[in-house]
């Protein structure tokens, strides 16, 4: 990323941070929180799914560990709330290393399948272990911010997205980032060039899991009350993956575009279709796979490059 573009990006994030000075309605701030939060989650997923080319359909596992980590370390063990938050993120990294070790030994669809299986084990266990998690009845999440919560949650979501964006931008232009993209393009060739594919994939999954768990903790505290289906369900996993794919997997700004589009569309569809609002996810996935395999940003960038080369 050039210096100029970095400055533009920084200016955009500062502008986003100033939004609460203008918007003061809780509902609007909550919608903005959701959009920015999922932009950050999409960026986190993009590291694994976009740059490393490993399709994770179980990011809800890390999201849920972040959410339940905050709640349980704080409520059950009585730890200070910010320490509990950090421990939730650490737990998610541990989980990522565990599942990565199993899943990355295999290629093809196995990784996607194992991530789903792992997330489902966590979800059903959280439902069943009612004495710890409250099960389907749910559990109350501690409040991270005492005053002006809507404003602060929105600001922290912007900061998470800025963090994920910066991490991605730094990784993409680093040696590590080139390893990831080499693995995505051809794992055998990458290994023949001396890249330790297993540990590279494991490390990027850990980074992605940490960012996702931060999002999970914020979400839990903002929502105030969580149940397993909501924070560890397949829906969350799908939502995160679709956002990145729609915007453009393997592009820096794709997840931002995807989050704005998908979350706005979901918000609109919720009032029209209520129960079946997930229909839009399915339609979008099919359309993207068939017509926009590089996502919106990826396709626009390709057309742009071609025009530039032509002129």
């Amino acid at each position: 990323m050039t210096r100029k573009r970095a400055l533009i990006a920084a200016a955009c994030f500062v502008l986003c941070l100033l939004v609460p000075l203008v918007v003061d309605q809780d509902y609007q701030l909550n919608v903005l929180f959701r959009i920015t939060l999922f932009a950050g989650l999409g960026l986190a997923w993009n590291l694994v799914g976009g740059y490393a080319g490993q399709l994770s359909l179980g990011h809800a596992a890390f999201f849920g560990i972040g959410a339940y980590g905050l709640v349980l370390f704080n409520e059950k063990l009585g730890l200070p709330i910010w320490l509990a938050f950090v421990l939730g993120v650490v737990a998610a990294v541990g989980a990522a290393l565990l599942i990565g070790r199993v899943a990355f030994r295999l290629r093809g669809p196995y990784f996607a399948l194992s991530t789903i299986a792992f997330a489902e084990v966590l979800r059903i266990s959280a439902k069943n272990l009612t004495s710890i998690t409250g099960g389907d009845v749910g559990v109350q999440a501690p409040a991270l911010f005492d005053t002006h919560p809507s404003q602060w949650f929105y600001v922290s979501a912007v900061l998470l997205t800025a963090l994920a964006f910066t991490v991605t931008a730094l990784i993409v232009r680093s040696r590590f980032g080139y390893w990831l993209q080499a693995i995505r393009e051809d794992e055998d060739t990458a290994m023949a060039c001396g890249i330790d594919a297993a540990s590279t994939k494991l490390r990027v999954l850990a980074i992605s899991a940490a960012l996702t768990a931060i999002g999970g903790g914020l979400y839990a505290s903002q929502f105030f009350f969580i149940v397993p289906d909501q924070v560890v369900g397949l829906e969350i996993s799908n939502e995160i993956a679709i956002i990145a794919m729609l915007g453009g997997a393997g592009t820096l700004t794709g997840p931002l575009v995807g989050a704005v589009l998908l979350e706005t569309a979901t918000e609109l569809f919720k009032s029209w279709f209520q129960e079946a609002h997930l229909l839009i996810y399915g339609v979008l996935i099919v359309l993207v796979v068939l017509f926009l395999p590089e996502g919106i940003v990826g396709t626009v960038a390709r057309v742009w490059r071609r025009r530039k080369a032509g002129s």
């Binding site: 359909l57 084990v121 059903i124 129960e275 399915g282 339609v283």
Partner: protein, 293 residues
Amino acid sequence: MEVKLWQAVQAILNGILTGALYSLIGMGMALIFGVMRIVNFAHGAFMMLGMYATWMLFERLHVNPYFGFLAAAAMLFVLGYATYQGLLRRIADRSDFMQILLTLGISLILTNGVQLIFGADYHQINFGLLDINVRLNSHVSLNLPWLLAFGITLVLGVGMFLVVMKSRLGRALRAIAQNRYAASLMGIDVMRIQALSFGMGLAAVGVAGGLLLPVFYLYPGAGDQFTLKAFVIVVLGGMGSIGGAAIAGVVLGIIENLTSLYWGNEWALVVDFIVFLLVLSLRPSGLFGSQRV
């Protein structure tokens, strides 16, 4: 002591009966994966369509589900053929990343489309046959609908196995599974055979859906857990091995019923996935070797 032993026997017998249906679902998935290299994330959603078709026939036309399942299978065969020709064919040469996403999208459309049309309510059908139990002794009895489903599944499962192993179509299927390019050089119309095998794989879940209807709840998400179970079965049996999937289905049924007996029904799916993750980490080629289709 003796009672406990009979409980275990009962659980194992129930496991075999449930497992036969799992086998059929898994065989459909294995056929599709073997021939097309596509992991069908819409497997359970198509099964749910089969259940709704059988249910509509029962509610509107009073067709007994034990005949209705044939119509569901026929419908799903056509739907599978059309889905392949209309959607899957267009991305045949893309990465499995894209293929997984496409079938996931189809699954979401089917589940939520059905929810939009029929609502999210649970349905259960009722007719005289359902309460009949066959007593083997004072501790062990078998439920007639499950026995019927088992018998039908056994016949169709063996039939499917024979088609794949003995018929001309089956030989073409296996040729494509081994090497798609070489098969096309031998004069096999790969696209047509793949469309047929996707149709056959879905017909298998159509049968399973129809047979499950009398003993299961019907709602738009009814198939979701079966997609996940089908993954477990296919991995357990060795990706793409139809015979392996048949055995793995029964194994999974027994594991689930024993889990239910000793730990409670709510842990059955957790144990499924733990078995799955263990197999992947210890013996990725599956429990029953690595032969394909």
